[in-house]
Amino acid sequence: MRILVLGAGTVGRWIADMLCRRRHSVIVVDHDPHNVRRINSELDVRAIEGNASQSTVLFQADVCGADICLAVTGDDEVNIVAASMAKALGTRRSIARVYAPAFRDLSTFDYQRHFNIDSILSLEQLTAYELTRAIRNPDAIPLEHFARGQLEVYEMEVAGKSSAAGEKLRDLKIPGGVRIGSLAREGRMWIASGEDELHSGDRVSLVGMPDAVAKARVLFGGSSERTSKKRVMIAGGGETGYHLAGSLSPHDYRIVMLEQDVDRCEHLSKLLPNVTVIKANANRRSILEDEGAGTVDHFVACTGNDESNIMSGVEARELGAARVMCVVGRPDYANVVGKLGIDRAVSERDVLARQVLGFLNEGSVISQRRLPNGEIAVYELEIVEGSQVTDATLAELPFAGRCLIAAIQRDGFVRVPRADDQLKPGDIVVALVDQASTEECLSMFNVA
């Protein structure tokens, strides 16, 4: 594929290198002549010097024939303008990286729609989801990344005493706004359908809007189930820390956040009423000791500075934190963190790289991800004019057990569909597809 990468910072350079090693044709644009020279000499890609938001520069970079444009300069506005221009000039999919949350909010103004960009991503938010997943359950279906991050997936075990055990799925009274995505029993995982009967000990994944998921959980848990809350300490209250704290449910986690800036602390304590926000420097051993870093289940360092993250991670480990994760941006550091006793290093580059790989698709597929066990894949699909799936309601489509529409995104809003919903051109759906019938199912979405 032909890929245009705008911006050759740490992230852009890494992505360009990765795509080039996978034998894609990559062109990089950066405004810094020094960066451009370095890339031209070190990587097997073409680098062009210039401002990514100028049409002449984009044109030189062959924007008209590109399959994907990734706008990852350090400037939100440049990224939005450039991604929008690329799309208008003929690039098939365009993606912009932004930092400021306002660009992803659509209540006052819908940037993604107005500028006709396929995806506006926040690396801080994606990184937070990655951390959230690692804390909650690394094997669960990674839907948080899809549908502008409005879905929640919760995996749980069906308790013997629960009202759901022994019932068929179609007979369960599941609240609207939630679907059962997958079922796992004896090491096998499959897409749930109405005929499946639940056994005690099965693992089910609930997909839906967060409130509805919380309500649905009581159906599957035993009445006496009251496990104690896990304790999480987050060092750094930037965008990543904020999204991480916000996506861990206060029902299951007790969260303490350390942040140095007084104003930011005040702001955070308003936004996150269930989180204990402490004004403190997470680099000080005495502070970590006093605030109980040694007794937490998870310690996450995301201060925005690699060295601080590694330092506080090492301290927390030494004090006795059960599991330690750090955000580490520099590729050359990734190697040492494991040796220092840090359980997991997450980087924005890797997070974006994974996201980008998901975008390298043909036809109506926007992105895809395979689940760890390999039997189910999650697709984000664009519904196009004339495809078979628009001809009937979801219940009437021959999808049972093979493909499950977990969510529909229409006009920027995400909801969990009901059986009588019908797909319309312009919708984007999140679908779980059984690997064995991938081809058959996807052909229903493409125009014959």
Partner: protein, 159 residues
């Protein structure tokens, strides 16, 4: 676009009881529910969507005015209401002033144009000092609704 196109007169509230940002939003969304403009089971979701928008930056635009808003798929057309608080409410406005006059809007996502035209209409009409002051001094919904009517008839700003 005119006020009559999106402000529901039955939902207008003079003398708001609310004393905090969240209470104002709750009271005004409730007024739209009472007027039959939104569905009861969507109320909480709408309130939290409006609050979430406020977290990104207050919609208090200064001079004692705020325009809390959101898009929501449960409404079929743009719906809005007006509320006046005689004491004023701390709404984290940019100029730090308490807010007395509220325009609350909920619009369907598939009509972004209407949404923007309504916001534009509100801010254009409020540029008129007298209109703004009279609204804040209103004691009954009838007074407010009459002022909106006069504004629609171009009696305050031209065009």
């Amino acid at each position: 676009m005119k006020f009559a196109d999106f402000i529901n007169t039955k939902a207008i509230r003079a003398e708001l009881k609310a004393v905090s940002k969240e209470e104002v939003i709750q009271e005004l969304v409730q007024s739209l529910l009472d007027a039959g403009q939104i569905e009861a089971d969507q109320k909480d979701d709408i309130i939290s969507a409006i609050m979430k928008r406020e977290e990104l930056g207050s919609t208090g635009i200064g001079r004692g005015v705020a325009v809390p808003h959101t898009k929501h798929p449960s409404v079929q057309k743009l719906v809005g209401t007006v509320g006046v608080s005689s004491e004023g409410v701390d709404f984290d406005s940019l100029d730090g002033e308490r807010v007395q006059l509220f325009f609350l809007l909920i619009s369907p996502p598939e009509r972004p144009g209407d949404h923007l035209r309504a916001l534009e209409n509100i801010s254009r009409q409020l540029r008129d000092e007298n209109f703004c002051r009279f609204l804040k001094q209103s004691k009954t919904p009838e007074d407010i609704s009459q002022l909106l009517q006069e504004a629609d008839d171009n009696q305050f700003v031209s065009g």
